[in-house]
Symmetry: C2
Subunit: 339 residues, 2 copies
């Protein structure tokens, strides 16, 4: 059913129907009521394609992320959604599994769909890939730095210095052999964390030993296995910085199963997931401001989409991650337990 049928039934022209839809105030109240009534009666829904054929704005934005089971990125997505709804936009969510190929496929499809904009979380794209998006004139915002993010619109957090702070805290508490577990699927984010780790060790004059720099699946099991390996190695550490809370939970479990305490092996995670407050010992972690990052990225994207002034110097916003000290690194004095 189409506008024409409604027009016939209501005894007016299609123009009037169109006006009722788009500029009701320009229509005589009685006519309008009649039209609305026939629409209701005929259960009419205007054709979205025909409607948008002229403007080509979809009110749809794409959000691309590695994995929708990662809580912290879903918090981020929630922040984006909040902003999107204010703009009457919906979100198409796509998982990449850190696969550049899949990421490109998703993006290609989304561009074909004429989405209004794109938010790429922990993207794996290269400079060339990004250039393709730019050629298509699709506004986009990156979340988290990547190898290709320089000069792009971006929202990120201080993975490096926050990690530096966390590792320094361990050193400050007297830990001498500090290991690190990073996710297998290596992202730029993890490289930043690794850099922070290295610098902290250097500044504290601690040895940087490859044997205690481990990669693991970013899961509980991954953290568990890696930690067991560390415990049984020649260089058994007295502290571990774990790049994600999820793996850190596995680490804590491994330490417990080996009948060790947080005094013997301290653990610090990264993300600040809520459950961290319930594992035992409660997880010390670097709290990433995910929701606010989402809000910020959303606002930035809509600024780009709506920018008709032509200002287009790119923005880079950094939101601070902060160390949240709890029991898992064995501290006693500086204890500020949270909830």
């Amino acid at each position: 059913m189409n506008i024409k049928e409604v027009a016939e039934r209501a005894g007016v022209s299609i123009t009037t129907i169109s006006r009722v839809l788009n500029a009701p105030e320009k229509v005589n109240v009685k006519t309008k009521e009649k039209v609305l009534a026939t629409m209701e009666e005929m259960n009419y829904t205007p054709n979205w394609f025909a409607r948008n054929l002229q403007h080509s704005r979809t009110n749809l934005i794409g959000v691309i992320l590695p994995d929708n089971l990662q809580q912290s990125n879903m918090e981020l997505a929630k922040g984006i959604e909040k902003i999107a709804l204010q703009k009457e936009c919906n979100i198409i969510l796509c998982n990449t599994g850190y696969d550049r190929h899949i990421e490109n496929e998703h993006i290609q499809r989304l561009i074909e769909r004429s989405i209004d904009g794109l938010i790429l979380i922990s993207s794996t794209l290269t400079k060339e890939d990004l250039d393709i998006i730019k050629d298509k004139a699709v506004p986009f915002v990156l979340v988290e730095k990547t190898a290709a993010s320089k000069g792009e619109n971006i929202v990120y957090t201080n993975n490096d210095t926050a990690t530096y702070e966390a590792v320094s805290y361990l050193a400050e508490m007297g830990r001498k052999t500090i290991a690190i577990i990073t996710p297998l699927k290596n992202s730029f984010t993890n490289e930043e964390k690794l850099r922070g780790y290295r610098e902290a060790l250097k500044d504290w004059k601690l040895e940087i030993d490859k044997e205690i720099i481990l990669k693991a699946e970013d899961t509980l099991e991954g953290g568990f296995a890696a930690t067991n390996k560390l415990i049984n190695s020649d260089k058994k550490p007295d502290a571990i910085f774990v790049c994600t809370d999820t793996m850190a939970f596995g680490a804590i479990e491994a330490i417990r199963q080996n009948n060790l305490t947080s005094d013997e092996i301290g653990v610090i995670g990264f993300d600040g997931l809520e459950v961290g407050a319930v594992v035992e010992p409660k997880l010390t972690t670097v709290k990433r401001p995910s929701y606010r990052m989402g809000l910020t990225a959303g606002r930035m994207l809509f600024d780009l989409i709506e920018n008709e002034t032509g200002e287009d110097d790119e923005q880079a916003v950094m939101l601070q991650s902060k160390l949240l000290i709890r029991k898992s690194c064995g501290n006693r004095e500086r204890l500020r337990e949270i909830w």
Copy 2:
């Protein structure tokens, strides 16, 4: 830029361009190559609206759920995505916060967008709301039963009998005073769980006492607070069935802070989240087959969308939730630790 410009530049008709896009095999190889080259050169992207104006299929499905921070429902969404990708469809994800009003708004917008289908997870809609969707001829599948789900296409799990089994297990282990904590935002799902709880108590000839049937925010803190309340009540329970793992984590924490053990107060959760294997004591929980529910719902939806045969007797598929026994309910003999 449009098909016409490309046609002019390539020195062919627009039909040929269209054919290169839609039926490349019907075009002379040389012509095709030339066209593709000019497309590339002009950086042409076909207009999605114009393309779809005739068929009105968007390859977009809506997935509506209460909260994208609930892990188990995101697993479900991942199952749906898997199927959607096979069908070259994308997913628009919408949060409702269990608010029927918001849910209706989302649906209305999605229908205006001409989505091909809809999956409603733990919907709050009434029969009338569903009728509106039907009037618009949008295929939809429900996930989890609702007050209005009778006679609709649905994928669900045995919340009632699984809860019955869990509570019975507690009774069997000798627990006498079994409390229940259900989410504040009451959904049909929770009513089912409550029913299972009541029937188990009845069959085990245990008293059903309103004082130990609590509602709480579906968060760690909510479970924590409710459990503290139970611990300090006249009717201090020796076991708690908690309707979600998230709240159960809070419950475990409260029990520990009160220096009680799982022998004194056993806990069983619901969902089967992975972190449950890392909290201490490890959480006994009812494992919901979320991912498979997602796959099933996705397949069911596309069956509806693609059904040209006219068969339309509705389907109701039940996937079984199962008790996963770990330490949090103090069992000793029947211990089959899993993770």
